[in-house]
Amino acid sequence: MSEPNTTVADPTNTPPGGSGARNNPVKNALGGSAGRSLGLVLALGLLFAVGAITSGDRFLNVENLLTILRYASIIGVISIGVTFVITAGGIDLSVGSVMGLATVVASLTSIQLAATQSSWLLMVLVALAVGAGVGLLNGVVIAYGNVVAFIATLATLVGARGLAELISGRSTQIVTNRDFLKVMRGEFLGIPVLVWIFILAAAVGWFLLNRTTFGRRTVAIGGNREASRLAGIKVKRHLVALYVLSGFSAGIAAVMMLGRTTAGTSTHGLLYELDAIAAVVVGGTLLAGGRGTIMGTVLGVLIFATLTNIFTQNNLDTSVQAIVKGMIIVVAVLLQQRFASARPSKRGG
């Protein structure tokens, strides 16, 4: 890609710290991720400064921060799933559609009826099952049908939206299950349940990617699929699992969306795929695969959410907002690269 020497300076997994840090896995990884994400943290800090300066207390208060987080949470959960797929060198364009489809199926009258008779968890299970199911389809077509992920999931994007329209008869389905709404719209320790789900998803995602064999396989396949195969990794099966994971996270997002909007409709999740991919790549995950960072993704999502919040606070014209947003995406990536490559090369101590 770029000059070979910049690639080398690129971070991999280890902290800039010496061998002391190496023995503490948590500190180790946090140090590494944070180091890699320094540019992003800075960009987010900058945005916060801008928000505070232009809107003062209206921006910097707990309620507004929670508003940002609540908004970020849904796209955040999707982005975490997408991070895995992209890290493995794939892509999933279908997440938005799949989320829409899952909200529709889970809020069908019959399902809601059954949920009322049994438990609100039924709706959750249905949404998750739809997400994972479509993910399975994606995965099988990609891994075993050898269809390029971009095209396979583009087809799913189109098809799932159509299916959602067909099932819902294009009408919006209202969620009536009180238990479901109570849980999903509730709070816990002063923090909305939606935000908790996001935090949980990020934590589980981070752990999965950085601390488990599943994550290791994901990175390995993204880094060199052929070498991974020759080393005995079951590449196809793992790819399927990844798309299931991505679909599953779209299913979680569907549950969250149902709670947040109290409605299931085929128009939910429009263009979320682009938002998610943007957040993931701005976060520092390589689009070509082989390097992924959950922390970066979370930061990427937060940057976009904060940006939108500041725009609303400052009453910018929508068209100007779009232009500024475009510029900020580029600047964030440039900043991120600068810091990633300026970081001291990580020699073990």
């Binding site: 488990t212 390995a220 070498a227 080393a231």
Partner: protein, 505 residues
């Protein structure tokens, strides 16, 4: 040949280069004259490739001067070097797989008028070039991706020749060539020098240096330890000492033949892959090393790949420790205890952006996990043990693999299966691009693994290596096993004779 007093074509003084704080070149001097073959030697990681990349415009040096025909030059981009008349064959194959032979050869200096390609002319020129290289069988319109590594190397050479050059730099061109091909290459080099073209030649094979070189410069740890020695006046041991700082005596360690009652570990019966190879049968006992000798393109790699499940055989059976192996599945093969160290380590073997230790444990990391949770410390420790045992340089498990020299990368692939403890090791060109010191270490290692009870297949294009290492040799030509023999019963000429006769038949 060349004139002692003439102005050097290329002169390098005090060249230095660092990557992210690591000083790779620390003052290199080099003088190349027109019409000579100037060999650059040094251990893996000494900085040879880095040096030539600064000369071909890939890297910009941090310090020092480059003089071309007496003028100081700066080479910020390969275009400038090519413009001066410096063509380079890089150590990593630098061809574009999706393009044809012709397209690769003329890439960057296409035959064109006003931007419009003259395809026929280019094809004719290519045919001429290939003929000159003794490879008229190669079709100019063949897609390079479908060629073997050796043939890609030929394309790379043809590309260098296609330019109007005064200096051709060859970074380990012979690493993936068999002896016949090397002879061919030398013929071409002699033609070039006769025309006054200078050649900088890098190789780890000392005999080659003797055959083709005029003068030698030696690098050690990024510094010149000798510059412009006459080949004829420099002994092998002195060279080795200049490179390694120590003496390397016996290349091939002593054999420990397997005991006659050792169990058969790998049993291959009538293995056949249509269009590739036919009726391959052999068995290897615990502790035995089997060598595949043959020319490039004789389908040895395909046989290995079929055994380890990359390809599915059309017929035949493979058993490990008496248990029949499910064909066409790599995971099944790995589980049964077969490990392949592939021919093209960069594209098939390594995850270049990942740290060394993760490459070492690529097929074993599951072992360091409980319920999916990876104990990275245990993993890194296990990798570190092997890194130390194999004397990987630098011995840093966290170093991105990309930054290691070729020889050291090769060691990682071995370490991977040593950590795994596989009873069956398939080694495709295990010493390609490996320096004398490391080569001896790898030989020792292979022998040690055998002594520990592993069954090993070694494929190498250096017949001498196969004969020196193996307990048993299969001579293979074009997918046919010509003979199974004892290495003491045959020598290099014998192998080549067999192949000639085999092809004639």
């Amino acid at each position: 040949m060349f004139d002692e007093d003439q102005l050097p074509l290329l002169e390098v003084r005090g060249l230095s280069k660092q990557f992210g704080g690591v000083q790779v070149l620390k003052g290199v001097d080099l003088q190349v004259r027109s019409g000579e073959v100037h060999c650059v030697m040094g251990q893996n990681g000494a900085g040879k490739s880095t040096l030539i990349k600064t000369l071909s415009g890939v890297y910009e040096p941090d310090g020092g001067v480059i003089l071309w025909e007496g003028q100081e030059v700066s080479l910020p981009h390969p275009t400038e070097a090519l413009g001066l008349g410096i063509a380079t064959m890089y150590q990593e194959l630098d061809v574009v797989d999706g393009l044809t032979v012709t397209e690769n050869i003329f890439l960057g200096h296409e035959n064109a008028s006003g931007g419009i390609l003259r395809v026929r002319e280019a094809n004719a020129l290519t045919r001429e070039l290939l003929k000159r290289l003794g490879h008229s069988r190669l079709s100019p319109s063949a897609e390079v991706g479908s060629l073997s590594a050796a043939n890609k190397q030929i394309v790379s050479l043809a590309r260098a020749l296609s330019r109007d050059t005064k200096l051709i730099i060859m970074d380990e061109p012979s690493a993936i060539l068999d002896s016949g091909e090397v002879a061919n290459l030398f013929r071409v080099i002699r033609e070039l020098t006769a025309q006054g073209i200078a050649v900088v030649y890098i190789s780890h094979r000392l005999e080659e240096i003797r055959q083709i070189g005029d003068r030698i410069s030696v690098l050690k740890d990024g510094k010149s330890t000798a510059s412009g020695l006459q080949v004829a006046e420099t002994s092998r041991s002195e060279l080795v000492r200049l490179m390694t700082g120590r003496d390397v005596e016996n290349v091939f360690p002593p054999r420990h033949p397997p005991s006659p009652d050792a169990p058969v570990v790998l049993d291959v019966e009538d293995l056949e892959l249509q269009g590739e190879f036919r009726k391959v049968s052999f068995h290897i006992k615990a502790g035995e090393i089997l060598g595949f000798a043959g020319l490039v393109g004789s389908k040895r790699s395909e046989i290995l790949e079929t055994i380890c499940g990359v390809r599915k055989p059309t017929s035949g059976r493979i058993s490990v420790n008496g248990k029949r192996l499910r064909p066409g599945s790599v995971p099944a093969a790995v589980k049964a205890g077969i490990g392949l160290s592939p021919e093209e380590r960069k594209s098939q073997g390594l995850i270049l952006d990942e740290p060394v230790f993760k490459n070492v444990t690529l097929s074993t990391f599951e072992r360091f996990a409980r319920g999916g949770y990876l104990n990275e410390k245990a993993e890194r420790d296990a990798a570190r043990d092997q890194i130390t045992a194999l004397e990987l340089r630098p011995a840093d498990p966290d170093r991105p693999t990309r930054t290691l020299s070729g020889g050291n990368q090769q060691k990682i692939l071995l370490a991977r299966w040593v950590v795994h403890g596989t009873p069956v090791l398939l080694l495709d060109e295990p010493t390609r691009g490996v320096d004398v010191g490391a080569r001896a270490e790898i030989y020792t290692l292979i022998r040690r693994l055998a002594a520990d009870g592993a069954a090993i297949i070694v494929v190498s294009s250096e017949i001498e290596e196969v004969l020196g290492l193996a307990d048993k040799v299969l001579v293979i030509d074009d997918g046919n096993v010509l003979v199974e023999t004892n290495p003491s019963d045959i020598d290099e000429h014998g192998v080549l004779d067999l192949i000639m006769k085999g092809s004639a038949a």
